[in-house]
Amino acid sequence: MTATRGAGKAAAARPAGSRASADRLARLLNLVPYLLARPGIEIAQAAADLGVTERQLREDLELLWVCGLPGYGPGDLIDMAFDGDRVTITYDAGIDRPLRLTPDEALALVVALRMLAETPGMANRDAIERALAKIENAAGDLVGSAVAVRLPGDAERLDLLRGAVQRRRALRITYYTAARDETTERTVDPLRVLMVAGRAYLEAWCRRAEAVRLFRADRIDALTELDEPAMAPPEAQLHDVTAGVFRPTPELPLVTLRVGRGGRWITEYYPCEEVRPGPGDEWTVAMRVTDLTWARRFVLGLGPDVTVISPPELVEAVRAEAAAALDAYAVPQPATPEPTG
């Protein structure tokens, strides 16, 4: 790497500038074959398609126009004909095909297509598999067996949900809410079906909550497609699930737990605010929970491996619930008609 003007800033500025110039070179090498395949395309349409401004595209064309084969005479340079706002390449100087895919490009496309092909309940699976075969073929050995994808799921259930989204019908669902341990009936207006971290969700406007909700497909216990059309109000905003489905917010109660070795797995399954080793073999784990009643069931279910440190009302709730359950076992057992068969 050589020194550039302005020594101080050069080091920081260089990679970004170099990146931009590499991006531009890649774009230019694509541009000739792109236009060659679309004679007489409107410049505005090409710019929109390529994700650049019209001005940038015109600058790119201007640059290509002075490039060409050695000799660099009028018959050697890339040539194009303009007709109003339309452009046609009339001489390509030999760059009539785009560059082949890099290993990273092939990987990104093939893995994403495999994800699509593996996603249960996907429409038009046949097209995905045909596309995958063709891209894999073009990618040659670049991806091969290095990445495999399997996303098991209830395809039939997802087919139903996807159908409702596509037909734009409202749904009547029986839904189990783990946070409150209750099953409710709701009418929802479906928006989309998602797969996040291997789980399927229906995102819909819930008329009962009057908000957009993510419903886990495996907790929808019953489902009826209604005759009425889905009518999510305009304020219905899709969730950004990039960082996961449950994203704790600072308003939620913070719970601190002391977790023994056997309970440490919870730090991989639930978003935690803090995980600190100690005291001793135990870890101190802070996490936000949607409500303390859920936290009580959660802690009781984890058993003796987990002890609540704070808040005090959760300590007391866990103790009181365990004591009440024990009291029930202390009274004589009700007569059980022992199930047979």
């Binding site: 060409g68 341990d181 971290a197 300590v315």
Partner: protein
């Protein structure tokens, strides 16, 4: 575009005043270099290239000028290679001592990919799935090449189900190492252990199973096939081996089966009867075999595989659920409840009772 309409002489100096003039000259030089090397069958030496391609003109007899040219040419070659341009090196004849360069069209050009409109739509959707910045950029530049090859991609197509694809930071180095068959080592943290341990692996491939990523390969220390969860890898993956440093994985190896081996369906042979307060423990009712209403609550019949894990989930429902049978399940639940109650017995709370 005043230049194109007015100046048929193609005045390359026309926009030297513009901000991007320096990088423009450089980009122009690189485009010309690619065109030149694609058009030649003969290997061209650096000197021949300098004499041909605009932008390399210099005085070869002036050591400083010549050195500047060499640096410039090295940088340009590096940039082309980084972009994936297959730059071949060789000599035009046995009498040549200096290496020459050319680009084989067969290696350069994207093969024809005749995608039907529905297939192109699927590729377009796939390219939008990535939430990881690096892979998202790679997917979109790959898609740009397909478009350049004449494929039209409908940007509004959907397939009804949107998978959200995320990967762990170790994904890129491990797929690269698997592809090139290079040995890696990394620090691996298992929650049950106190400190991460260093593992050495010949990676065979990376697997996504139920939304989590794993690497499968031959563990050099255990001398056996092992899989590792990418989210448990701490810090950077170190690529230690040279390309091709281990033999390809056994023919027909199914990477998924190594990860999914422990996830098969469990046989629920146990049968428990529990008493549930009416209207409570909805989560338990969902997977009960039978539910019979009675005066003191509802009796549920539950099938289970492992009494300890059933006990754990029953304890979660607290006083809403009472085990009636079998006795060992009842005892397991009582034992857990006693330990939990003892663990949460604060002195102050005790005094209040």
């Amino acid at each position: 575009m005043a230049c194109t309409t007015l100046c048929r002489g193609r005045c390359r100096a026309a926009d030297t005043a513009s901000v991007g003039a320096v990088s423009r000259t450089r980009t122009e030089r690189l485009v010309n270099l690619v065109i030149c090397l694609l058009s030649t069958r003969r290997f061209l030496t650096a000197a021949q290239i300098a004499a041909t391609v605009p932008g390399y003109d210099h005085d070869p007899d002036d050591p400083r000028d010549h050195e500047a040219f060499q640096r410039k040419f090295e940088r340009d070659k590096a940039e082309l290679r980084e972009l994936g341009v297959p730059l071949e090196t060789g000599t035009a004849s046995v009498f040549d001592t200096e290496p020459g360069y050319r680009i084989a069209r067969r290696e350069y050009a994207l093969p024809d990919i005749p995608l039907e409109p529905d297939e192109a739509a699927a590729v377009g959707i796939a390219a939008r799935l990535w939430r990881h910045a690096g892979l998202a950029a790679a997917a979109s530049s790959g898609l740009a090449k397909l478009r350049a090859a004449g494929v039209d991609v409908d940007p509004h197509a959907t397939l009804g189900v949107e998978p959200v694809v995320t990967v762990d930071p170790a994904f890129a180095p491990l797929t690269g190492a698997a592809r090139e068959r290079r040995t890696v080592s990394f620090d691996y943290r298992v929650p049950e252990r106190d400190a991460p341990g260093t593992r050495r692996l010949q990676p065979w491939g990376v697997v996504c199973w139920r939304g989590r990523w794993y690497v499968v390969g031959h563990d050099l220390d255990r001398d056996a096939v092992r899989c590792f969860r990418l989210s448990r890898i701490v810090g950077a993956v170190r690529v230690t081996g040279r390309p091709g440093s281990f033999p390809p994985p056994p023919a027909g190896v199914d990477l998924i089966s190594h990860v999914a081996r422990w996830s098969g369906p469990v046989e629920r042979t146990g049968r428990a009867t529990v008493l549930v307060r009416s209207g409570r423990a909805a989560g338990l009712r969902r997977w009960a075999d039978e539910c019979t209403a009675g005066p003191d609550g509802d009796r549920l019949i539950l099938r289970y595989a492992d009494p300890e894990s059933l006990a754990a989930s029953l304890v979660g429902y607290g006083a809403d659920v009472r085990v009636l049978a079998p006795p060992e399940l009842r005892e397991a639940v009582i034992q857990r409840l006693k330990e939990i109650a003892a663990g949460h017995e604060a002195p102050a709370a005790g005094a209040l009772r």
